[in-house]
Structures are given as structure tokens and as C-alpha cells.
């Protein structure tokens, strides 16, 4: 033939285009193994291309044998087509009945085997002659005289099975699905049904010689093929749109994070890798290439803080919880910067490991401002103590000098009397009696002073226990961080508020916490632990415990440390615990201490529950 056959062109281009589409979807499946509908589409496309080629072959056959051979070789691609369609419906609609699917594929499989056992093919027993027909302006071969196989109606049944399978799946999807699913069901189901009916009827008509046209499955199949393609493309379009949205979101997120000077990070606990934004890397002073390995990031962290950081991250990962940890970053020669990292764990998914994801921020400036505030607060608290102290000492000085002064005068007088030749014994006896009386008076002054300490209380309001702990933590937080002390706190839920003077109670806990931090100062940097615990005490009251892992209290001194002016420190008056106990007792509670099991001490402030009736 001189000119290029139109039939050849048409059939070839359709087949090629279909293969190309199939190949694209194959690529998609290779990138994402979950997209099995894409694989099914590829199989369908292969089958379709095969059918198109065998049709072309048949239309250009020159002998009956050749035509029979072409029909014979039509069956493998038809099998592929069947498998592909069944698989597509199964994965894309999801409502196909498995047994029906297997039956359909099985039937086609049987026909396929039969086809290659029989001669010339499954459909015909004997092909006697062929004829030529004009089709699209050129001659094509059609069958003229032939004897159809008795069993070839099974092929129709197999096709019908396929149609039933597809229809059934479509109807089920229509019934159970929403709008999108109904559209999908209508499209796939409808087009498939149409195709199968048209193609089967058409094929039968030709086979029985009622129509003298080439057996053409490909044109009607373009319908369902187009439908499948449309469905697949819809997915691709959606993916494209989602990708765009995702990119937009990411950009927005990065902008917002950047504006807030927040670095974003993700930590893969298992592989120990880190993803982070540019901002995060800038905070850590890491170059662009330096990301990925968590160890690189850890190297930038202050050695004393590393263990704590890792422990907190692991804890969050294991418990699925939130984490918040402050740590220092080495900044070359300059002072270390303080960074706050907050994150939340995400559980492992089907294709991602468990991660912790969060933000981090350089809070050095904030901290120094806070430190100043803290310093001020501490001075205030301290001057409160100093004021109290000066009040107490002047009152002590005054009250006690009376009896002491009297004792001195009496002693001096007695001394002078004894230097005379005849000291007056009666007078001396009176002097001694007076001295004893005044000594007792002096002691009473001290006792009264102690009880005065107790009576020094402001007005009582209901104090929430958790709020109290938080206040104290806020006051010692910076101190603890700079001294490398790990302060933990535990509060039992549902603790009742305690009636009391919030400032005084804060003072007591602050005092205990500061003492605890002093006690652990000798321990190595990453082992300093102070625990603030609030739990229910006896008779509905509240126990506030401050425990540490320091040296503990030497045996026998548990009572003495509460005495005024007892101190083991080089600075300080030794009045803190005495005042604290006084405050405890003025609240109707107690302040005791004992050694805890871990070698340190625990101070227990017990505050009673509010009384039912007011006094």
C-alpha cells in the first residue's frame, strides 16, 4: 500500500496513547505502592493495547489461517483486560465482591487455556474463508464462512460475569457512598456496563455472521477506558492541587514561624535524625549542610544540659506526650545562649516512625530580663526576711536587757558587798533570789518571742496548692537552671485549697527550696535533684514536701536545725527554718524533716484542711 492505512494509524495511535497513559500510572504506583488502582489501570491499558493490535492484525489478515491466529491471540490481552478491570474496580471502588472477582478472572483464565488447546481458537471450530470489506475507506478482512464453536457462548458468559461484577460493585458503592463515590460509581459502572453489553452483542452478531464487519472491541472500550482515565486523572489533579496547597501552607508556616522567631524541628527518635527550618539551624548556629544527624545538633548544646535534653525528648517520645525543655547552646567564645524547645510527640504511622515535632526559640534576652525580675523578687523576699529579723532583734534586745541588766546590777552590788568586812547575808540572799527570778524572766522572754513568731501572720485566704507550687517554681526556676539543679514537681490531683497567708507560705516553700538547692550543690552537675511534691495529708489536709538528693541531715540533728540561729552555712542567720516552722504552726500545721531513702532530706510542711465552721 502506498499511503498509510488510516485504520493502522488510528488503531496504533490509540494503542500507543493508552500504553503511555498506563505507563504514567505505573510510574505513579512505583512511587507509591499504595496506589494499586494505578497498577490495575496499567494492566488494563496493556490488555487494551494488546486487543487493539490483534484487531489490527485480524483486519490486515490475508488468509483464513492468519485471521484465525489473530483471533486466537486476542485472548491473552482480553484476559489481561479482565484482570485489569477487576483489579481496578476492586481498588478504586473498593466494593467488589471477592468471590465474584475470582470467578470472573477464573472463567477468563479457563477460556484462555481452552483457547490455546483448541484449534484454530476458542471461538471457531473451522474458518473456511475470509472476505474483504470496506471500512474507513480501505479494505479490511472479515470472516466469510466459518463454523463457530459450540462453547464459545462461554466467552459471552465470562464477559457478562465481568459486567455483573462491575455493576454489582458500582451499585454497592452508590448505595453506601457520598456524592463523590456516587459519581465514581456511575461513571465506572455505567461505562463498563455499556461497553460490555455493546461489545458482547456486537461480537456475537459478527461471529454468527449476521453482520459483516470486523470484530472491533476497541472503539466501544474507549468509553470505560476514558472513564478510568478520567478517574485517575482526577486523582492526579487532586494531587496537584493538594501539593500546591501543601506548599502554600508550608510557606505560610515558615513565614509565621520566622516572624515569631521560632525554629521548627522534627526529630526521628529511631533514626536519630532531625529535620529543621532555616531559622532553627540559625538558632543553633549550624550551616545548611549540617542538618540531619541529631548528634551534630547535640554537639552545640552545653555539655551539662545534654543528658537532660535527650532524656526529656525520649520521655516525650515514649509517653506520646508534650515536652518542654530549656537548655544552653554554646556560642563560640561568647556567653552561651539559652534556648527553649517545646514539642509534641506523634505516634508512628504506617509509613513514618514516631517523631517529636515542635518549635524552638532563643530566649536569652527574655531570660536575662526574667533574671533581673527574679533578682528583684529575691531581694524583696530577702528584705522581707531582713525586716522581720530587725523587728525581732530589736524587740529581743529590749525585752531581754531588762532582766539581764538587773542580773548584772545585782551581781555587781553583791560583789561590792562581799568586799566589805561584814557583808549583809540577808541582803545577799535577796540578791541571789532576784538573780534567779530574772534569769527565769529572761527565758520567758525568749519563749514569748517564739510564740510571737508564730503569731506573725497576715490574713488567711484559700490558697490553691498548685498555684503555690507554680509560684515557687517560678521564683526558683532561673536559679535552678543556672545552678544546674533539676527541679521536678508533682501535685496530686484534686487537692483542696488551703486557708492561709499565701505570701508567708510561699516564703516557707521558697526557703525550703533554696535550702534544698544548697544541699545538692556538691553533687555532680547532672545529678542535682530537688522534688516539690504536693499530696493529701492526714485528715484531709495537704502535705507539701521538698526533697533533695544531697547529704541529708546528720543523725540527731533533726530537731536542732529548726532552732533559731542554728546554721551550718557561713552566711545566714540560721533563722529561716525557725521562721518557717513558726509560719507552719501559725497555720495550724507542722514543719518536719527526715532523711529520705536516697541519701537526701525531705522537709514536710503539713497544712490542715479548712475547718467546716468558721471560728
Amino acid at each position: 500500500m502506498g499511503k498509510l492505512s488510516l485504520v493502522t494509524v488510528l488503531w496504533s495511535t490509540v494503542a500507543a496513547a493508552t500504553l503511555l497513559l498506563g505507563f504514567l500510572h505505573l510510574l505513579r504506583w512505583m512511587a507509591d505502592r499504595r496506589a494499586r488502582a494505578d497498577l490495575a489501570f496499567m494492566v488494563t491499558a496493556l490488555g487494551f493495547a494488546g486487543v487493539a493490535f490483534t484487531e489490527l492484525w485480524a483486519m490486515h489478515a490475508t488468509t483464513p489461517e492468519e485471521w484465525g491466529l489473530a483471533v486466537r491471540w486476542c485472548h491473552p490481552p482480553i484476559f489481561l483486560l479482565t484482570v485489569g478491570i477487576v483489579a481496578f474496580v476492586h481498588f478504586h471502588l473498593g466494593t467488589g465482591r471477592a468471590w465474584l472477582a475470582w470467578t470472573t478472572v477464573g472463567a477468563r483464565g479457563v477460556i484462555l487455556v481452552w483457547n490455546f488447546v483448541a484449534w484454530p481458537n476458542f471461538n471457531f471450530e473451522r474458518i473456511d474463508s475470509i472476505a474483504s470489506l470496506s471500512f474507513l475507506g480501505e479494505p479490511v478482512t472479515v470472516v466469510a464462512a466459518a463454523v463457530t464453536s459450540r462453547w464459545q457462548f462461554l466467552g459471552t458468559i465470562a464477559s457478562l460475569l465481568l459486567a455483573i461484577y462491575v455493576l454489582d460493585a458500582s451499585v454497592r458503592l452508590w448505595r453506601t457512598g457520598g456524592r463523590e463515590q456516587r459519581d465514581r460509581a456511575a461513571l465506572i459502572g455505567g461505562s463498563m456496563l455499556l461497553f460490555v453489553l455493546v461489545a458482547s452483542a456486537y461480537a456475537q452478531l459478527v461471529i454468527f455472521g449476521l453482520m459483516r464487519v470486523p470484530i472491533l472491541i476497541t472503539p466501544p472500550f474507549l468509553l470505560p477506558l476514558g472513564a478510568m482515565c478520567f478517574e485517575m486523572s482526577r486523582d492526579l489533579l487532586r494531587v496537584g492541587r493538594l501539593t500546591r496547597e501543601l506548599r502554600d501552607n508550608q510557606r505560610r508556616l515558615e513565614m509565621a514561624a520566622g516572624a515569631a522567631e521560632l525554629g521548627l524541628w522534627e526529630w526521628d527518635g529511631r533514626a536519630n535524625r532531625v529535620w529543621a527550618t532555616h531559622q532553627a539551624r540559625a538558632i543553633f548556629n549550624l550551616a545548611e549542610e549540617d542538618q540531619g544527624d541529631f548528634r551534630h545538633w547535640l554537639e552545640r548544646v552545653h555539655p551539662d544540659d545534654r543528658a537532660r535534653l535527650v532524656q526529656e525528648m525520649r520521655r516525650a517520645l515514649d509517653s506520646g506526650d508534650e515536652c518542654a525543655v530549656e537548655f544552653r547552646i554554646l556560642a563560640g567564645g561568647a556567653a552561651p545562649r539559652i534556648v527553649l524547645a517545646r514539642g509534641r510527640a506523634e505516634p508512628a504511622g504506617p509509613e513514618q516512625p514516631a517523631q517529636v515535632r515542635g518549635v524552638l526559640r532563643d530566649i536569652t534576652a527574655q531570660r536575662s530580663a526574667q533574671d533581673e525580675t527574679q533578682e528583684l523578687r529575691r531581694e524583696l523576699a530577702h528584705s522581707g526576711r531582713v525586716w522581720l529579723l530587725s523587728q525581732l532583734t530589736s524587740s529581743l534586745a529590749h525585752e531581754i536587757s531588762q532582766p539581764l541588766g538587773a542580773i548584772l546590777r545585782n551581781a555587781e552590788a553583791a560583789g561590792m558587798m562581799l568586799e566589805t568586812a561584814q557583808p549583809d547575808h540577808e541582803e545577799l540572799k535577796a540578791i541571789v533570789a532576784d538573780i534567779l527570778r530574772d534569769d527565769r524572766r529572761a527565758r520567758e522572754v525568749i519563749d514569748r518571742l517564739r510564740s510571737m513568731l508564730k503569731r506573725r501572720a497576715g490574713e488567711h485566704t484559700p490558697v490553691p496548692v498548685d498555684g503555690l507550687l507554680q509560684d515557687v517554681l517560678a521564683l526558683v526556676g532561673a536559679d535552678a537552671a543556672s545552678r544546674g539543679v533539676w527541679i521536678e514537681h508533682v501535685a496530686s490531683p484534686h487537692l483542696p485549697p488551703v486557708p492561709g497567708d499565701r505570701v508567708a507560705l510561699t516564703q516557707v516553700l521558697l526557703n525550703l527550696a533554696l535550702n534544698a538547692m544548697d544541699a545538692v550543690a556538691d553533687r555532680p552537675a547532672d545529678q542535682r535533684r530537688v522534688l516539690l511534691k504536693a499530696e493529701t495529708g492526714r485528715e484531709g489536709g495537704v502535705d507539701l514536701c521538698v526533697s533533695d538528693n544531697g547529704q541529708g541531715i546528720p543523725a540527731g540533728l533533726e530537731r536542732r536545725i529548726f532552732e533559731p540561729f542554728y546554721t551550718t552555712k557561713s552566711s545566714g542567720m540560721g533563722l529561716g527554718l525557725a521562721i518557717s516552722r513558726g509560719i507552719a504552726e501559725s497555720h495550724g500545721g507542722t514543719l518536719t524533716c527526715e532523711n529520705n531513702g536516697q541519701g537526701g532530706a525531705v522537709f514536710r510542711l503539713f497544712l490542715p484542711a479548712p475547718r467546716e465552721t468558721s471560728p
Binding site: 538587773a406 548584772l408 546590777r409 552590788a413 532576784d434
Partner: protein, 128 residues
């Protein structure tokens, strides 16, 4: 000039035990002490003008020692006033000095200084 045989010294302090002990001391030293537990008691005493020295505490129930001193100044009292106080208050000391005291001691200060101050106070002034 004929010196009185007895040198009367007033002790004004609200603490009885202290008054008693101070009186004993002064007695041993050869003086004649008379004790008062308040400034008002002292002012009401008819012997008041005859005291040659006053030992006064700053802090008294009712009128304070310094107030008493000022009042006595107003009525032309010439007896020297020596303060013996429990408070170590520089302000009180300043006030007392301003009012013209002959000594300012703490209760816990030793006898020798106090007796020396008293001796100075009751010594006759030269050239009448």
C-alpha cells in the same frame, strides 16, 4: 559649803527588779537611792527637788524618760540626768544629748562607768 550627808539619787525605771538591783548598787556605793516606777510617780514626789542625780530609762510606761527630762528643764531642774536604757537607739541618744544629759548608758553596761558618771554628776561645780 556644807555638803548634805546624803546624796539622793532617783532611779526611774518601769522594771521593778532593775530598780531594786540598781538601788542596791548605789547603796553599796554610798548613795541614797530612791526608786520610782514611772515618770509621773517621780513628778508627784515632794522630795523631787532634792535629788541630786536622776537615773532614767528612756522607755517608761506613760511619759517617756526624755519627755520627763524636757519637763524638768521647763521647771528649772538642775539635777543631772543619766539615761540607762535597753534600747540601742541612736535617735534616742541624739534627742537625749540635745536635752542635755549627763550620760547615756545601756542596761548591760558595766557598773564602773555608771558610777563614775554619777560621781561626776553630783560633784559640786567649781566656783558655786
Amino acid at each position: 559649803m556644807h555638803m548634805p550627808r546624803r546624796t539622793y539619787i532617783a532611779i526611774i525605771d518601769d522594771d521593778e527588779s532593775l530598780c531594786r538591783s540598781l538601788a542596791r548598787l548605789l547603796h553599796q556605793a554610798g548613795y541614797q537611792p530612791v526608786t520610782f516606777v514611772s515618770a509621773e510617780d517621780f513628778l508627784a514626789d515632794p522630795l523631787r527637788p532634792h535629788f541630786q542625780c536622776l537615773l532614767v530609762d528612756v522607755q517608761l510606761g506613760g511619759m517617756s524618760g526624755i519627755e520627763l527630762h524636757k519637763q524638768l528643764n521647763l521647771v528649772g531642774n538642775r539635777a543631772p540626768v543619766i539615761y540607762i536604757t535597753a534600747f540601742d537607739d541612736p535617735r534616742a541618744q541624739a534627742e537625749a544629748t540635745q536635752a542635755g544629759c549627763a550620760g547615756f548608758f545601756r542596761k548591760t553596761d558595766g557598773a564602773p562607768e555608771i558610777l563614775s558618771a554619777i560621781r561626776h554628776a553630783v560633784a559640786p561645780s567649781p566656783a558655786g
